[in-house]
């Protein structure tokens, strides 16, 4: 009797697929349900932001940075203005520094909420955690709307400070949010932390070993879940992060579950930072004297921050004109994604989806 001839088949996951979080394509070779090879295909959302930046004034680039990681626009703004301030040697008022910290940490919570919600949605929890997380994110978006009038692409930070001071109703609303949020995080933990199915699906799945994580220069929660205590806020404190007390949560195994846990713990730490910053927030100006067209001296600067998804860096080269000669963006999503193949091989399609979800990428940042 002749044996049945079997062969692996190729499944295109994406570019349009509910779980690719944008337009990303994975060309997976499957043996039954098991992934034997995987080829990530990038570039569907390429808009040439780095090249566009060379044609704009330094202030005019800020709206472009909004469109990188559109789920954490404020963090992108912050990384960019820090780089320009470093390049031009601009110092900013105390009040602006504190507000930047508050806003960056709020943005981290908002981004992690989506990351956790989308991850659980990929696990198959039918939109419930996703919508609950969105309910909390909505409050942060409302806060940002008070500041900038926008709800997604804020374009709020400026070189040397902010566009305008915070409105009067901002601090009471922020206070209310900071008081409410811990109980919500506890509630989600109560529902999900020990969920049997979630443990079975995410524990030990998609392990990113410590050495590999360092070698691919992963950063952010992906790196910390692999057990590396690396956070730009601690190892190279920018802004005024050295004035606050907070811990860096790390995982041990580097699996999907650890990445999820690290994000939840980071939300708690962010709330801690916001609470301290609110207590210390001084009065005063929110913007230093900066010329309308910034002309930094010729040279180069690299400004980096701990964005929600990892180390977000802007490398700017100035030729003493009103536009940068070169603007390079170190996008954490792209670098974290480079380990995708190593993490996915040998797992099943369902695991591949949650591994991809647990890395937490935004395609706007990957393709730029």
């Amino acid at each position: 009797m002749m044996a049945i001839k079997t062969e692996p088949f190729v499944l295109n996951i994406g570019p349009v697929h509910p779980s690719t979080h944008g337009v990303f394509r994975m060309r997976a070779t499957l043996d039954g349900e098991v992934i034997v090879n995987l080829e990530p295909v990038f570039g569907y959302l390429h808009r040439g932001i780095e090249k566009l930046a060379e044609e704009r004034t330094y202030t005019g680039i800020i709206p472009l940075t909004d469109r990188l990681d559109y789920l954490a626009s404020m963090s992108n703004n912050l990384a960019y203005v820090l780089a320009v301030e470093k390049l031009a040697g601009i110092s900013i008022p105390e009040r602006a520094e504190y507000l930047r910290v508050i806003i960056a940490e709020l943005q981290r919570i908002a981004s992690h909420l989506i990351a956790v919600g989308a991850f659980l949605n990929d696990c198959g929890a039918f939109f419930t955690p996703f919508l609950y997380m969105f309910r909390e994110r909505e409050k942060i978006v409302d806060l940002f709307e008070m500041l900038s009038g926008q709800r997604l692409l804020y374009n709020y930070m400026r070189i040397g400070g902010f566009t305008q001071d915070i409105p009067d109703e901002f601090l009471p609303a922020l206070d209310k949010f900071v008081k409410q949020m811990p109980s919500f995080i506890d509630e989600y933990d109560y529902l999900l932390k020990e969920n049997e199915i979630l443990l079975a699906r995410a524990k030990g799945v998609g392990i990113l070993p410590k050495e590999l994580a360092i070698n691919i220069s992963a950063s952010g929660p992906v790196l910390r879940a692999s057990g590396v205590k690396w956070d730009i806020r601690k190892v190279d404190p920018y802004s005024i992060y050295d004035r606050f007390e907070f811990d860096i949560p790390t995982g041990t195994a580097g699996d999907c579950y650890d990445r999820y846990r690290v994000r939840v713990e980071e939300m708690r730490q962010s709330l801690r930072i916001i609470r301290q910053a609110m207590e210390q927030l001084p009065a005063g100006p929110i913007r230093s004297e900066v010329p309308h067209l910034v002309r930094p001296p010729a040279g180069e600067a690299y400004g980096h921050i701990e964005a929600p998804k990892g180390e977000l860096g802007f490398y700017l080269v100035s030729d003493n004109s009103i536009a940068p000669y070169r603007c390079h963006i170190r996008a954490p999503s792209l670098l974290n994604l480079t380990a995708l193949r190593d993490m996915m091989i040998g797992w099943k399609i369902q695991d591949a989806i949650i591994i991809f979800g647990s890395i937490d990428i935004t395609m706007g940042e990957v393709d730029r």
């Binding site: 088949f9 499944l11 697929h17 509910p18 779980s19 043996d31 349900e33 098991v34 992934i35 034997v36 659980l120 949605n121 990929d122 696990c123 198959g124 929890a125 039918f126 939109f127 419930t128 919508l131 609950y132 309910r135 969920n195 199915i197 979630l198 079975a200 699906r201 030990g204 799945v205 091989i345 040998g346 797992w347 099943k348 399609i349 369902q350 695991d351 989806i353």
Partner: protein
């Protein structure tokens, strides 16, 4: 036996039943066919409404609320919309099989209702092998699902269909063994006799059997957390990804009428069917069916999805051995204390269930994890 009364034989009632009706057997047949089709369609609409509104409430949103009061007419609006859509057959697909698949999935779901009693003797055909007929007919729809997956010429639908076959074949076994322990109690395969025998709902006498049946039933009809065949975050829609218009509506209808059936059978086997005080029997039946379905909606909004190997492991390593043990224990109980008080038996069985489930989940590992390639 104390707990089970001696119900009249199914055959005896079949002869007497049509005489209650003006024109005899054929009018009974005609009336019940119409009643069943109307019942299934109305229940499906009710289920869709309950699921969407219930999920809306559980997910901190409103759910459909535009069409009719409380969005009650939303299923009607959906049906009208979907009927006006174009039917698309994939160019590379097998046209005939693609056309036939929704029918093969939907038709058995109507057929099963022939043996489900709405009231004492109020059923289309009181087959003396009723529950066996249910098991046999419900397996047919798996064939239709595979036809759909194959004929669509789409890799996602093929993977979904293969998952469906694997799940249905595996979960049929604990399902049948759980039914067998109920049949041991009643001594009859007729659905009507099973209801008549339940002075105490069998959920109390057979708690483990109920759990196994409920879980296997959810897996059979692709309800969460076992909805791997149409996993929207992985396979987009699974086997019906290439269906549109009326044919998609047939799958949608079949999905919910399967939910109606599993709820109706759980009601009949474990919750005392149409039995209940004050309210008329048919109303009790509908209320119980809705309660069972509500639990399914609840699990769907609460739980993440399991993986395919975990699905298989749950069937073969957890449910199947427990179902066999349950059958064994039920047999021993019926042999050794045929005159035992039902309340003693309830307490003993609940204790056994708790111990078994706890013990088994301790030394049971879900799935296998990574495969070396």
């Amino acid at each position: 036996m104390a707990i089970v009364d001696s119900a009249p034989t199914a055959l005896g009632r079949l002869e007497t039943l049509p005489s209650d009706w003006p024109v005899g057997f054929w009018s009974h047949w005609g009336v019940f066919t119409v009643v069943i089709i109307a019942f299934v369609l109305l229940m499906v609409m009710g289920f869709i409404w309950l699921e969407r509104r219930g999920m809306g409430r559980m997910q901190a949103r409103l759910g459909p609320n535009r069409a009719g009061p409380f969005g009650l007419l939303q299923p009607v609006a959906d049906a009208i919309k979907v009927l006006l859509k174009e039917n698309i057959t994939p160019a590379q697909g097998d046209k005939i099989v693609h056309w036939l698949a929704p029918v093969v999935v939907f038709a058995p779901t109507l057929m099963i209702f022939a043996v489900v009693p709405f009231s004492d003797g109020a059923l289309l055909a009181d087959l003396n092998v009723g529950i066996l007929y249910v098991v046999a007919i419900s397996s047919i729809s798996a064939l239709g699902v595979f036809m759909a997956g194959w004929a669509s010429s789409n890799k996602y639908s093929l993977v979904g269909a293969m998952r469906n076959i694997a799940a249905v074949v595996s979960y049929e076994i604990p399902l049948v063994v759980a039914i067998a322990s109920v049949v041991l109690l009643t001594g009859s395969l007729s659905m009507n006799d099973i209801v008549l025998a339940q002075h105490i709902p069998f959920i109390l006498l057979q708690p483990l059997g109920f759990l196994i049946f409920f879980i296997s039933g959810c897996a059979e009809i692709n309800r969460s957390p076992f909805d791997l065949m149409e996993a929207d975050s992985e396979l987009v829609a699974g086997f019906h990804i290439e269906y549109s218009g009326m044919r998609f509506a047939m799958f949608y209808l079949a999905e919910y009428s399967e939910a109606v059936i599993i709820s109706a059978i759980i009601t009949t086997l474990f919750l005392g069917g149409w039995r209940g005080p004050v309210l008329p029997p048919w109303l009790w039946f509908i209320v119980k069916v809705f309660i069972v379905f509500f639990v399914m909606v609840w699990t769907r909004t609460t739980l993440p999805r399991v993986r395919i190997d975990q699905l298989m492991a749950l069937a073969w390593k957890f449910l199947f051995p427990l179902a066999l043990i349950n059958l064994f224990i039920t047999g021993i109980e019926l042999l050794t204390w045929p005159e035992a008080l039902p309340w003693v038996m309830i307490l003993v069985n609940i204790a056994i269930t708790a111990v078994l489930v706890l013990l088994w989940s301790k030394f049971f590992k879900l799935g296998w994890g990574r495969v070396e390639v």
